[in-house]
Amino acid sequence: MSQPILQFKEETFRDDFAYSNSAWAIERFPFPFDKDSYMYAVNLEPHTTGRAGSVYEKSFDVDEHYVAEMRERALTLLEDPLRCQSLPHMTLAGWDLLELIMSHKARDYPELFELHRNGTQWHWINKPLGIDQHFTFGDEATLPYGPMEYITRQSQGDWCVLDQRDGNLWMDAGMVTTQADWSLDFDIGMNFFEWHAPVPMAHELGIFKRALKFLLTIPQGNPARRLNWTMTVNPRHDTSPENYPKWGPDRTTVTAENVGEKMYLRVELQSFWRLPRSNALVFPIRCYLIQLEDLVSQPKWAKRFHRVLRDLPKELAEYKGFERNRALMVQWLSQFDDGGPTSPGVWPD
């Protein structure tokens, strides 16, 4: 599955939803289920270079949706600037993040990005977005936005920058436009347990205590990653609580006839990186969407996902927001499940 030359597509994640995954994108989709059932776990693993061509290969994966996703982000920010916020003490972490993303992208995709450094005089070239920027590292006045906003407007997925203090992590800055139904404006300033407060069952399982203990000791040069998932009606990026009255009604438009076409599995590839100068942690949340009709093109995924959805505890389905349409999905998926065994692991057979 070698990497083809990336063709950036013109797509929309709202209104007419002109979005599709190429065969390449479908094959490398980060299917999150390694067995036929799902429960919360501290499923953190080192974010080392993964299988060639997969979404795990590079530090920050760039795919065919890159340009379209950045255009969608810019639209969301025009409508609601509160999706990107940084408390005053987090500017240093913003510079750390800018350096991290620029240096890794330039190293991993030299045909797309270039970074030239001469002391604090930096020159950044982003070919897909047509950006050619000279600036002074550390001097906000030389960039059109603060450092975190500047670089995350050019990076797929949401970005949460966490201050580490008092034995906890604090969500003190973020760029959040593709979230699965949580509000940065409300949660900014909260600590790890507080912003996860609404998640059912996981607190009692001790998931967050164990995860925090691990995250606090992540050193520089040793990032970790995990997967999270939910469902979305239509390939909509902006499923924020702010706009719930806009996208909520979509959930009532799903029928037995259109469920395969309208329902999308939404997988978040999350990673955790120690930032050098600020000692903060950055937590990118990269969103991948796949239409159910495309998902079932991989027979193992079809069978497995049928079983996962069928047996998922009701509280999780309610919290993830798809309990209303679960029966329709399970019914539709059942046609692909012959009840036979599935191989362990996430990769298609």
């Binding site: 008092d166 409300f186 949660d187 507080e194 609404p198």
Partner: protein
């Protein structure tokens, strides 16, 4: 059943420190009077009490009788906050903060304290009085005061909101999310809940 972001309050107790700032509203005044029985009489010689009440009453007189070094009666929470802010601006380490009364008072006074550099874990709090809530509408960002029903209507944009237990210390408010987003015509009846 509570969630980790929902604040949990304790009871007033003496903290180590060189001066003490106590802010209370309504029944929180009685919390200070109850607390006063735990400390020697001269403890209040190093205290500053800000009490929120429409006008003088039995509690305000009793609080003044404690002979704090400074005393102020404020008619409302918003009118008390500038004074609180200035006192904290002038303060040195060793000043300790105590908040007692409604969640609204505790939340709004705590916002000022956080801005002044005091960590929330260093503040002594006691809840007294009603459970009435402040709520931020996640849609229009407006904050509605004195929320008592579930669901509740946003005082700014008119949407009916589920009043969640998810709380932001930074905003001093609970989160309200549209309860009829998926089926706009289906609004559950409002039930008196936070009283």
């Amino acid at each position: 059943m509570t969630i980790p972001s929902r604040p949990v309050y304790g009871s007033l107790h003496a903290l180590a420190g060189s001066s003490h700032l106590l802010v209370a509203d309504g029944a929180g005044g009685q919390a200070i009077l109850d607390f006063a029985r735990q400390v020697p009489a001269d403890w209040f010689a190093a205290a500053h009490i800000i009490y929120v009440a429409r006008s003088e009453n039995a509690t305000s007189h009793a609080l003044q009788a404690l002979r704090p070094r400074q005393w102020h009666l404020a008619p409302s929470i918003p009118s008390a906050l500038p004074r609180l802010s200035k006192v904290l601006e002038d303060a040195h380490m060793g000043l300790r903060l105590y908040l007692a009364g409604t969640e609204g008072l505790i939340g709004e006074a705590m916002q000022v304290a956080l801005d002044a550099g005091i960590d929330h874990t260093a503040i002594c709090t006691e809840h007294r009085g009603s459970l009435v809530r402040r709520m931020q509408c996640v849609h229009c960002k407006g904050i509605s005061e004195n929320v008592t029903t579930q669901p509740s209507q946003c005082a700014h944009c008119g949407l009916w909101l589920l009043v969640r237990d998810h709380y932001s210390r930074r905003l001093g408010a609970f989160q309200g999310v549209c309860i009829h987003a998926e089926e706009p015509a289906n609004i559950p009846p409002a039930v008196e809940t936070f009283v």
